[in-house]
């Protein structure tokens, strides 16, 4: 994308019918570190890569609890993301207070989208530079939505945003058909594997990622480092102890996995083609 004379103002159309400021805002999302969401019939998992400014600093929080039944993962300008999370929390709690009943995800997402749209049509504002993966559970089931800076929103079975998200998306595209009926554990494993795709060769450690789950009778919460590491251990090849690590695991899950191929991931699916790097 190159600079041109129609991109200074969000309220200026280009002759080809584009709003460049909005598109640049979407670029900002692509620059943020990866965030991934997937859902089954009964659960939604949100995961993200922990990016820290330097070794000395802590990493930025990219996943927020909006309510017991809704969580959001962001990519892009985290400051904008924080503000929008606060808005979502506010909407959710106001609804709960008036109606004693959880706000349905679809309605929250529309309000969020309308809020984003306003910023694309005021000369004194700028679009929010953050993409949001909103996952939640309501009367009509589990949902995963993606909210764009443009004010658009889409519902997904699984999605990834941020830098190197394409690798994760390719992984998810291959496996998304199984997600609807997936168990909670398999869903979490798939999320972590998708995160691994975005790391492109870097060893996957539990300190590098944050994973959150919500589902039927399971309010939104983060998985602790131990649990994440356990899942990683079931599929990540540790060079010296390759076979031993697999057979040493007590969990039947792990045994199944060890029987499958290490490189391609957890569920012992022999038909999956090798990943193109």
């Amino acid at each position: 994308m190159f600079r041109n004379q129609y991109d200074t103002d969000v309220t200026t159309w280009s002759p080809t019918g584009r709003l460049f400021q909005v598109e640049y805002a979407m670029e900002a999302v692509k620059q943020g570190s990866a965030a991934i969401g997937l859902r089954s019939r009964s659960h939604v998992v949100l995961a993200c890569v922990n990016k820290a400014q330097s070794e000395l600093s802590s990493h930025q929080r990219k996943i927020f609890k909006v309510d017991d039944h809704i969580g959001v993962a962001i990519a892009g300008l985290t400051a904008d993301g924080r503000v929008l999370s606060r808005y979502m929390r506010s909407e959710s709690i106001n609804h709960s207070f008036t109606y004693e009943s959880p706000l349905s995800v679809g309605r929250l997402v529309v309000r969020l989208a309308d809020k984003a749209q306003v910023c694309t049509q005021r000369s004194w504002k700028r679009p929010y530079g953050v993409g949001l993966l909103v996952g939640g559970l309501d009367e009509s089931g589990a949902h995963l939505y993606y909210n764009c800076p443009s004010g658009n929103y889409f519902e997904y079975q699984a999605f990834a945003i941020g830098s190197r998200s394409q690798a994760a998306k390719t992984y998810l595209e291959r496996r998304y058909e199984s997600f609807q009926e997936s168990s909670r554990e398999d869903l979490i494993k798939d999320a972590i594997m998708a995160i691994r795709e975005t790391l492109q060769g870097e060893t996957l450690k539990s300190s590098l990622c944050t994973v959150s789950v919500l589902g039927v009778e399971e309010p939104f919460h983060f998985l602790d480092q131990e649990s994440i590491q356990k899942v990683i251990d079931t599929f990540e090849k540790v060079p010296e102890e390759e076979e031993d690590a697999g057979e040493g695991e007590a969990e039947p899950e792990a045994a199944l996995v060890a029987a499958g191929t290490g490189e391609q991931g957890g569920s012992g699916d022999q038909d999956v083609a090798p990943m193109e790097m």
């Binding site: 008036t98 004693e100 009943s101 679809g106 309605r107 309501d138 009367e139 009509s140």
Partner: protein, 245 residues
């Protein structure tokens, strides 16, 4: 909110406008509403009278209305305030339908919304002069609750407003059961309404019974209860009362 203008001879004239904005007393009122949960859902009964003070002026007022697909609202107290509440709920349900997204307002949501409305009005010293009964069934769950004009709100297996609290609820406390069938429930409600008819002077003998189940909400056609006025105590009420006539 009010101020007075001094006139020469010392008499004061109130600013009429500001004060008339607040509800001070009810004018056209409905009397008791009685409701119970039963095996398949919720039953509610009320008569069709609207009193103007002590005059039984209006005899065709429906004091129970369906709200959305799942709930029914019954009201006693000021009829015009009840109509105002119906307007609020109309807006609510309209908005809900417009979303068209598979979610719908259930009785719990409506009850809580009304609680908020009633309580907020009470805080402004401008109450909606009603006691509301909200019942319904959604996803197999039966719901029955009440909100008063000062925002007191609760749920129970059986509720009644106004005189019903004093005359009907004792009957219900003795005779209500979780597994009442439809006919049994109606008979129980009719028993309560009959007592109210005999003893509440603002009750009229024209009532409706509403049924709320998973299938939906229906309000019956108006009908009357059989009454018996030949009890010995009624024919000669002053027997044994020294000094009466």
């Amino acid at each position: 909110m009010t101020f007075t203008i001094q006139i020469e001879n010392g008499t004061e004239v109130r600013n009429a406008e500001a004060d008339s904005q607040r509800t001070l007393y009810p004018y056209v009122t409905g009397t008791s509403v009685v409701a119970i949960k039963y095996k398949d859902g919720v039953l509610m009964a009320s008569d069709m009278g609207g009193s103007y003070g002590s005059t039984l002026r209006y005899k065709n007022i429906e004091r129970m209305k369906a709200i959305g697909k799942h709930s029914l609202l019954g009201a006693s107290g000021e009829i015009s305030d009840f109509q105002e509440i119906l307007r609020y709920l109309d807006e609510l349900t309209l908005n809900d339908n417009m979303w068209d997204d598979g979610n719908s307002l259930g009785p719990k949501e409506v009850h809580n919304y009304l609680t908020r409305v009633m309580y907020n009005r009470r805080n402004k010293f401008n109450p909606l002069w009603n006691t509301l009964v909200l019942g319904g069934v959604k996803n197999g769950e039966k719901y029955l609750g009440m909100v008063s004009m000062i925002g007191v709100s609760f749920e129970d297996n059986h509720v009644a407003t106004g005189f019903g609290n004093h005359l009907a609820r004792p009957i219900l406390r003795d005779e209500w059961r979780e597994d009442l069938g439809f006919e049994e429930g109606v008979k129980l409600l009719e028993k309560c309404m009959r007592v109210l008819l005999y003893r509440d002077r603002s009750a009229i003998n024209k009532l409706q019974i509403a049924k709320m189940t998973e299938e939906g909400v229906t309000v019956s056609e108006p009908y009357s209860l059989k009454t018996f006025w030949e009890f010995k105590a009624f024919t000669n009420p002053t027997v044994g009362a020294e000094g009466s006539w």
